[in-house]
């Protein structure tokens, strides 16, 4: 029997536990040791306490029948767990202990998951590199000089480095898929409304979704099965039957029609990334799928649209951090108290986006920017609707390049924003997307492939992803730490 459980997937560990070959105590010990061994180098986990582990083991003792019994899960630092500090990677929320569980956490608890370790993130999820966290940057486990992607960089790096068996992230413009791609793991952004956002600290409410980050596609289906579903506490969650996603894990893509949008293979995309994605599509063709070039003509406007809508919603959502109800308070008369608190509490990128959002919503600019962006959003959504009439899914690179160097784009917001160019459209349209590993660069950095499908069609994503994973023989490759 192995002892290095940090190397295994959740479904493997589940099997070990149900066969009485191991126990949650041994599994969590392995993961805890791993965190202590590698986290000083990776910085994926920002808070970890062995006492919490004991408490979690006590809490889950009688949950043997649970779908995630004994499985260590890392939770992004923007999802509330009752009584445990959550900060969104920000100074402004230091010490905040939420008085309730997010709905996804309630579900994880019910299924016996071990909530162990908080995952690092860009402050308030504003970023694509995990460099804006007040806890310092997370390093990519494949190359410590590089970023893990963001904003769920801590979640993706933790899974890649074995500091968690699986993780929850959140995705507003690619924050699950892009780090999954850059860290060589699987990340899925569900359809808007599929997973409850209750207890997720809001960034942009019309774009945010919580989703799984896992070592393989089977684990992805397992975690999605647990978190998906209608929640009366989230008025935007959709009351629709949730299928059993494990049934989508079939090694067969015969007859699947794949659209390859030409606008995603433009100049600026790395040659190795492009080749790897094209070779992957050819592999799927050999397995029985059909592909054809398609056009999503408004793709070039997606980043601009997003950088109006997302900061606009964020500036409104983040108005609540004003020193009154929770978190940091800096003294002054009422208005100065707000200003002092927010100026000290928020980092640069957060201030930049709040100001941008406030600007595009301000009197005289609302129609020119915000309303304009909402119109273009419709156009982007219509592009997808049109393609999905004839195609089952769309395949693209997840990100234009493999992981870039830490510090490379910090002072150039636009070039940083462009690293989400291929993931943003799915959030604007509300459609589901998955990123799976599809190759490595010559420098041994993971490359990710993105599959998109129509709303509430996660099953197609999982089926195509699973078939690719089974036949590409890439899965299971982990960084040497």
């Amino acid at each position: 029997m192995p002892e290095d459980f940090y190397r295994f997937t959740a479904h493997e560990i589940k099997r070990f536990i149900s066969n009485d070959e191991t126990t949650p105590v041994e599994v969590t010990a392995s993961i805890s040791d791993r965190i202590e061994e590698v986290n000083s180098r990776v910085n994926a986990i920002i808070s970890f306490d062995r006492n919490d582990v004991k408490e979690e083991l006590r809490r889950t003792k009688d949950k043997r029948a649970g779908k995630l019994f004994g499985i260590p899960v890392a939770v992004k630092d923007n999802i509330c767990i009752e009584g445990r500090q959550v900060t969104c990677g920000s100074r402004i929320l230091k010490g905040f202990r939420p008085p309730y569980d997010a709905t996804v956490i309630e579900k994880l608890k019910k299924e016996g998951a071990i909530l162990l370790g908080r995952a690092n993130m860009d402050e308030f999820a504003f970023g694509s590199s995990c460099e804006t966290s007040s806890y310092g940057p997370t390093n990519n486990p494949w190359d410590f000089d590089r970023i893990p992607g963001g904003s769920s960089g801590g979640s993706a790096a933790a899974v890649a480095a074995g500091e968690a068996t699986m993780a929850l992230g959140s995705d507003t413009g690619g924050s699950i898929r892009q780090p999954a791609s850059l860290c060589g793991v699987v990340g899925l952004k569900p359809t808007y409304g599929r997973v409850s956002r209750y207890g997720l600290i809001a960034f942009a409410s019309s774009l945010d979704q919580i989703g799984p980050i896992t070592k393989d596609v089977r684990d992805c289906a397992l975690l999605l099965n647990v978190i998906a579903g209608y929640d009366p506490k989230d008025s935007t969650s959709v009351d629709m039957k949730v299928p059993d996603y494990s049934k989508s894990l079939v090694n067969d893509v015969k007859g699947i029609k794949i659209g390859i949008p030409r606008e995603y293979f433009i100049e600026g995309i790395d040659r190795e990334v492009k080749e790897s994605v094209i070779n992957s599509v050819k592999l799927l063709e050999r397995l029985g799928a059909k592909y054809e070039e398609v056009s999503l003509p408004h793709t070039e406007y997606a980043v601009g649209t997003y950088y109006i809508i997302a900061p606009a919603e964020a500036s409104s959502n983040l108005a609540r951090f004003d020193g009154v109800q929770y978190g940091l308070r800096k003294p002054g008369n009422l208005i100065d108290m707000y200003k002092n608190t927010r100026s000290v509490g928020f980092g640069s990128e957060v201030k930049r986006r709040i100001i941008l959002g406030t600007y595009v919503l301000s009197s005289g600019y609302y129609d020119a920017y915000y309303l304009k962006a909402l119109g273009v959003r419709t156009k982007i959504k219509e592009d997808f609707d049109k393609i999905f009439k004839d195609f089952d899914c769309i395949i693209t690179p997840t990100a234009p390049t493999a992981a870039f160097k830490i510090g490379e784009k910090v002072d150039d917001p636009i070039s940083m924003y462009l690293s989400d160019i291929f993931t943003i459209p799915a959030n604007l349209a509300g459609i589901p997307g998955i990123s799976i590993p599809c190759g490595f660069t010559k420098g041994d950095l993971p490359i990710g492939l993105q599959i998109l499908a129509k709303p509430f069609n996660e099953e197609t994503l999982l089926r195509v992803a699973y078939t690719f994973e089974k036949n590409s023989k890439l899965c299971g490759r982990r960084p040497n730490l």
Binding site: P232, G304, V324, K339, R342, I354, I355
Partner: protein, 96 residues
């Protein structure tokens, strides 16, 4: 053309105080971002309805029944300052 944005005015609306250096950096960066997003004007949206939400949203009703909610004590558990069952803020009304 690069837009000149009065960053300090906007920052005041957002209740954020900027250092001089921050203010000049942001002014330049936001000008770049705004110039970048202006390419949306190339898209004709005259007859396109705006999308505020990816899915059609409907009002959600529930029965008007008393249900358990977060007790005040718990809701106040993170308050920087409180008195009785209230959040306490600096004095707002000037003495006469």
């Amino acid at each position: 053309m690069k837009k000149n944005i009065d960053v300090d005015y906007i920052a005041n609306l957002a209740r954020i105080k900027l250092e001089k250096k921050e203010s000049s950096d942001f002014s330049s960066q936001l000008g770049d971002i705004i110039s970048f997003v202006e390419k949306l004007n190339k898209v004709d949206t005259k007859d396109t309805p705006p999308t505020t939400h990816p899915l059609p949203l409907m009002n959600v009703f529930r029965e008007d029944k008393v249900k358990e909610s977060l007790p005040a004590e718990k809701a106040l558990s993170n308050a920087p300052d409180k008195k009785y069952s209230f959040f306490k803020v600096p004095k707002v009304i000037e003495e006469a």
